[in-house]
């Protein structure tokens, strides 16, 4: 070992104990760190982004393309021009893409527990609340990136919204991403098997998607289906997206935002609570 190396041992055991930063600084730093890790991993696995791109395309071009000629105009006219089924479907599939990615982001916390990495996070000097928030933000980012890839196909579906509408669509994607990641985290907080998580999530995710009105208009539904749709938080997310992109909507913006936002708040608080109580 060189002289230079020997000298530096003082770096490892300083003669003074630096004081701990205040709680807020530590937690914000921790949230950023956890988020950054998810972004690095997302970029490293970017091939997976392409893989998850296929399923929405099947819905858009095969389901949409197949039904479009039969269905004619759906959801009312827009600027004097009737909206074809594919154009109606498009915002729903953007929502679906965010929903699916966000759902499986929750598996990351189970996976971290399985491979032992979660312990490294749990013994760090930051609150568990910060850990949950960091994971939610990381998962949401992942799903918004995925949704944006679909959103970029907009010109193919006779949609040329102006900047404000695109910004609106982004905000909605973020909201859906945060909500559904929280659901995933809530399920994942106590789970020890990623396989179990996948099974449970698959069980939940399809009803959420089918009931959300991504595939069909919400007016003139049988009353039981209408009720079920109103109970699905995704319904309000898809409604907001369609509102932003095509102008068609079934609920007011306020109803959508309050319902989705309220649901997000309840679920994330519940996740934080459960995670704080987990050994």
């Amino acid at each position: 070992m060189t002289e230079k190396v020997m000298d530096q041992w003082s770096l490892v055991l300083p003669s003074t104990q630096p004081p701990l930063a205040d709680r807020m600084t530590r937690d914000l730093g921790g949230i950023y760190t956890l988020w950054l890790r998810d972004v690095i991993r997302l970029w490293r696995d970017r091939i997976r982004l392409v893989g998850s791109f296929i399923q929405p395309l099947l819905f858009l071009f095969i389901l949409g393309g197949g039904l479009s000629p039969r269905l004619g105009a759906l959801g009312g006219a827009r600027g004097g021009q009737a909206l074809g089924y594919q154009d109606f479907l498009f915002p729903g599939i953007v929502g679906m893409s965010v929903l699916f990615t966000a759902s499986f982001a929750g598996v990351a916390i189970v996976w971290d527990r399985e491979v032992g990495f979660l312990k490294e996070v749990l013994v760090a000097p930051l609150s568990r609340t910060a850990v949950v928030i960091g994971k939610i933000l990381g998962g949401a980012t992942n799903s918004v990136v995925q949704g944006s890839l679909i959103l970029a196909l907009m010109p193919l579906f006779h949609l040329h919204p102006h900047f404000g509408q695109i910004a609106g669509a982004f905000l909605v994607m973020i909201l859906i991403g945060l909500t559904q990641t929280s659901v995933g985290i809530l399920l994942g907080v106590r789970m020890t098997s990623s396989q179990g998580f996948m099974v449970l999530m698959n069980f939940i995710i399809l009803p959420l998607f089918f009931l959300s009105g991504a595939l069909y208009p919400l007016d003139r539904l049988p009353s039981w289906l209408s009720l079920a749709s109103r109970l699905d938080p995704m319904t309000y997310g898809v409604d907001l997206l369609r509102h932003a992109l095509t102008g068609i909507h079934y609920f007011s913006i306020a109803t959508d935002l309050l319902t989705l936002g309220g649901f997000l708040l309840v679920i994330s608080l519940l996740s934080v609570h459960l995670f704080n109580k987990t050994d």
Binding site: Q8, W9, V12, V115
Partner: protein, 333 residues
């Protein structure tokens, strides 16, 4: 504002720690009234089989688990009241790997440094230096999944030191490593101890690892059954252990138990039908004279110095390899 570090006195003080897990089949007492002190700069070991309560004790030291009763202080800070201040003072190497293997070595260290609030320049300087010391510098930008088991362990040691802790906790640090990697990892741990006088808390079920420490607590079924320096513990058994092969083991056993109650707990059957026991302290003469006086034909005999395994058997009535209360690795959490 900076507190100065008091290098004397006790870094860890545990008093009457009890941890009871609630399970479906009732309560399980994982740690049953443990007390110990670790001095600043000391190398302190917990030696015991799987399920003895070693990892549970560590869980309480780093505030991952809350004690059912009792108290634990690190650097005079109550762990339950000041979990984050305590964690800042501890570097821990877990029993199971805890690296993100999809990130590079460097990214793992950066992640750790950021979580502990270490400013960028200090983080980088320490990481670079420690990587060099541990012989990982040329692999720093490789994904951890390409690392061997020994390299991962070394990286975890680097990571545990990046925030300049006062106490390094090693929970079975060489579990699952081949003999060469084990030696290698220990060389690095000793380097750290030598260079900075780091306080080390080790749990292990390998005798030779505990043998190198300043003091050993022998732990079994949630209790500390003996606590002293390895030398003193071994000396307490007397100077020699006899290993004999006899024809009628049962009769010989009975003879020993009747004549020398002091070695009652320490008689042990070894591989190949050999019996080993410490030289009875009731007898003042040499071991050879003792052997000659036995009213049994002796087929084979040898003498060795007591090791920690003999100590362990003496205090628990069973060998470390027997796994104490059973090899339920799932219970060792």
């Amino acid at each position: 504002m900076v507190e100065t570090v008091d290098r004397r006195g006790h870094l860890v003080q545990a008093e009457d720690l009890i941890k009871i897990y609630k399970t479906r089949t009732g309560n399980r007492m994982a740690v049953n009234g443990i007390s110990f002190h670790v001095k600043e700069g000391e190398f302190f070991s917990f030696l015991g089989p799987n399920g003895a309560g070693k990892t549970t004790t560590i869980g309480m030291m780093v505030a991952l688990l809350s004690p059912t009763s009792g108290r634990i202080k690190i650097d005079n800070l109550d762990v339950t009241k000041y979990p984050h201040e305590v964690r800042q003072r501890i570097g821990i190497i877990f029993q199971d790997p805890s690296l993100d293997d999809r990130l590079t070595a460097w990214e793992n260290l950066e992640f750790h440094g950021r979580l502990y609030g270490i400013p960028g320049p200090a983080r980088k300087k320490r990481s670079e230096f420690l990587m060099e010391v541990m012989g990982l510098s040329d692999r720093r930008h490789d994904l951890v999944r390409t690392f061997s088991g020994g390299m991962k362990r070394r990286l975890e040691i680097v990571r545990g030191l990046v925030h300049a802790p006062r106490l390094l906790i090693l929970d079975e640090p060489t579990l699952g490593l081949d003999p060469h990697s084990r030696r290698n990892v220990w060389e690095y741990i000793h380097t750290v101890r030598k260079e900075v006088g780091m306080t080390v808390f080790l749990t292990t079920h390998y005798l030779e690892e505990a043998d190198g420490s300043d003091r050993v607590a022998i732990i079994n079924q949630g209790k500390i059954v003996a606590l002293d320096s390895p030398e003193r513990l071994k000396k307490s058994l007397g100077p020699e252990v006899l290993i004999l092969k006899v024809q009628d083991k049962a009769a010989f056993n009975q003879y020993l138990l009747d004549g020398y109650p002091s070695i009652m707990e320490a008689i042990r059957e070894e591989e190949g039908g050999l019996l080993s026991f410490p030289m009875p302290q009731e007898r003042a003469e040499s071991p050879w004279e003792f052997l000659r006086s036995l009213p049994f034909p002796i087929l084979e005999a040898s003498i060795r110095r007591p090791n920690l395994d003999d100590v362990f058997i003496r205090y628990t009535g069973q060998g470390l390899a027997d796994g104490g209360q059973g090899k339920n690795s799932g219970g060792d959490q």
